[in-house]
Amino acid sequence: MNDFLLHLCSYHQPRRVRVIENVCQNHPTVANLFWAQQYSLINWLGCRRDLDRAEFNGELAALKKAGLISLHDNQVQLTAAGVSYQEGSPVYEPHFFDWFWLANTRRIEQRFLLGIQVVSEFAYRNRRYVPVHVPYSEQGAVKAWFHRYASVQLVQQVARELELLGTAFEGEDEQLVTAFFAGLVGHDGSGQTIAQLSQELGLNIGEMMVINHDALLGISAFAKNTTGPIARLLQPLLASSPLSTSCWQTINMLRQGVGLAAIAQRRHLKLGTIREHVLTAAILAPQVYQWEKLLPSQDKEYLKHKYEGPVASWQFVRWGDNENRDFFCFRLYQIIRGSEENG
């Protein structure tokens, strides 16, 4: 049984199954982000990008069968047995999950594995080998990188960087550094799979998946903060902020005092898109703007009287003649109160 999904469930809070699935695969719609924030799962976004619906349902079914979770009305909740299971088995604490937005870890993994493999084969002067299977785009990126930087020094430089990375990982967790180095593909071996590592380290396969994702975010963070060959390989895959460029443009105009409708007009975008930018930013980067300013005082008063208690229980009911506008105000107010709830 793969216990990965237990990490995303809570004993105290029933959670929407589809939101959890979307968090794993990283579908950052406003609704998903809102609920992910309510569940304190924002930094788990994109933790299992390969997960498909059948696999997800299969894992949930197995956990339910084992009595560790309960499922009602498309919501999932940890059972008492689930809590004691977690207390009784080693749970890995991620160290790099705050960097969840930094990169698509699947692409990082593919590019990094192939890059290191190419350098390893180069170190052995071997040209006849099967490259690790990665998409065409990653093959091209690695090829270009290698042709540009291949030299006697490259092997030494990569060795030094891996040594640094290894020392940093070792400082965080012994298992992290083991998983990282045992999984690398090279001339000396094709590395160990998640399943093999989990057996070797005596961990559940779900735990291994957490460690693997953590290592990939760690590599990404390393690439962000260095300038050597690994950075040059991976930097094109790194995001500069949790918000997209387009989202930033909206926020910057907002800061200059431009209203939402005017932003939409100037940027030739739908008002709905601009509102999504605002809501996304209010969740992922709450500090970049005073969001309350976007709520007309009349609406704010109304919302204050109408909605009390935990924001997760609020039901939207329109009050004016424009449902989209009302919903925007409702969601924004909900996000603001919600972030106060979460401290």
């Binding site: 099967v130 299977h133 990665v134 065409y136 290894g166 999984g183 799979t193 399943a195």
Partner: protein
Amino acid sequence: MDEKKIYQELRQRFGFTEFRDGQLATIKAIMGGHNTLAVLPTGGGKSLLYQLPGYLMAETVLVVSPLISLMQDQVDRLHRRGEKGAIMLTGQVYGADRQRLLQNLANYKFIFASPELLTNQAVVKALQRVQISLLTIDEAHCISQWGPDFRPEYLMLKQLRQVLGDPVTLMLTATATPAVRRDIIQKVGLVGDQVVTVKRSVNRPNIFLAVDQCQNGEEKRARLLQMVTQLGGAGIIYFSSRRLANEMANWLNTQTKIGVASYHAGMSSADRFRIQQQFMNDQVKLICATSAFGMGIDKENIRFVIHYHLPDSLENYVQEIGRAGRDGKQSAAVILYAPGDEQLPRQLLTVDLPPADLMQAVQRGKVDEKALGPDYQLFSFYLKHHFTPAQVELAFTRRKKRRLAQLQVMTNYVQSAECRRNFILRYFDESATTQERCCDHELADWLETGILAKRVPPSLKSPSFDWHCRLASLLNLVKN
């Protein structure tokens, strides 16, 4: 074409001095400009059949293949030989990447493509610009509705062939009944007497055939454990689901010291790559797979193939056991059977037909094709090609009937008191044979008498992992 030249290429490029049975006849037919249907048993070295002529011809070889895993395997094989001019054109490459790839297509000697991509106009245009000197249709039986693996996209190949200017065409299959052979030629748009057929027996004399009758699932498990601890060498065990493949691999790892790993489409591509390489290098001895695995695995010394569940057709069974004994040495194929096992594939064959109004809505583009359920691609193909919902229903009823009949053949094989080898030969319309070490009907205590060498207990576990050592070996560093 000069036979000398062919042999020279074989020696210089591939390092062999002799052809396997059927290879030379096929290559000579292709080089003579004939469309060729090659029905050669798995393990017959089919990649050579298009690679060698490919090198002798000036232009590009296009290989159509039904599965990405199959293509990947062929590309890996070429890479291992140092050939870099091989590329895969699949649905996994899209957008700007695909455009770039299509522009550079002329740089490749071997282009592997999935059939659904060959219905794409941009792809076809790009292929037209490249001179295709040999069109290879891998697993050609997929074009036949009479076979168990019918892929509707394969029906588009007839048109593709015309658009590419009727290049010499090689149709490859390992198992095809006479009806399927006729069907292949017709569906590719050829006429029987214009096609050279090179056919060799499906019989693989070095594979011992057995069925192990068990009372229930528990006995099957115990029997499997007994087999894998006794039978020496590398093996593949086929399961009906990913979950079982995973579970049994874990279980076998706790029960034995043999390296066991699961392998299926649910794993990351990096992990699949790792297992393939470890299996090739004998670090992993046993693979627990779903049937999608090893459609073309390139390992010569697989000693046995065990089916933990009933395969869905004799065609597929013969293909899957064909992974064993490619080096010609004694090998074995075993089915573990408990009463009622035929119910599982029967359930898997039950494809739910979507309601007619839903199909219509999809056809009009009002509803996403995924609403058609887990088999949406199949339905979608027919709808895209202007089948009415009633016609789709008819096609599927027929298909289901055929597949149930194929499953019945498989059940008969398992329960038959007849020599298993002759059962298979009769099904493929070949004449009966007798041989030593044939099947469990002649040699009931085959496991005990040691058809295969006994497993040598593996040596002690490797020392504990040290990341500094791995780093040094990874980059060939001199340790100080």
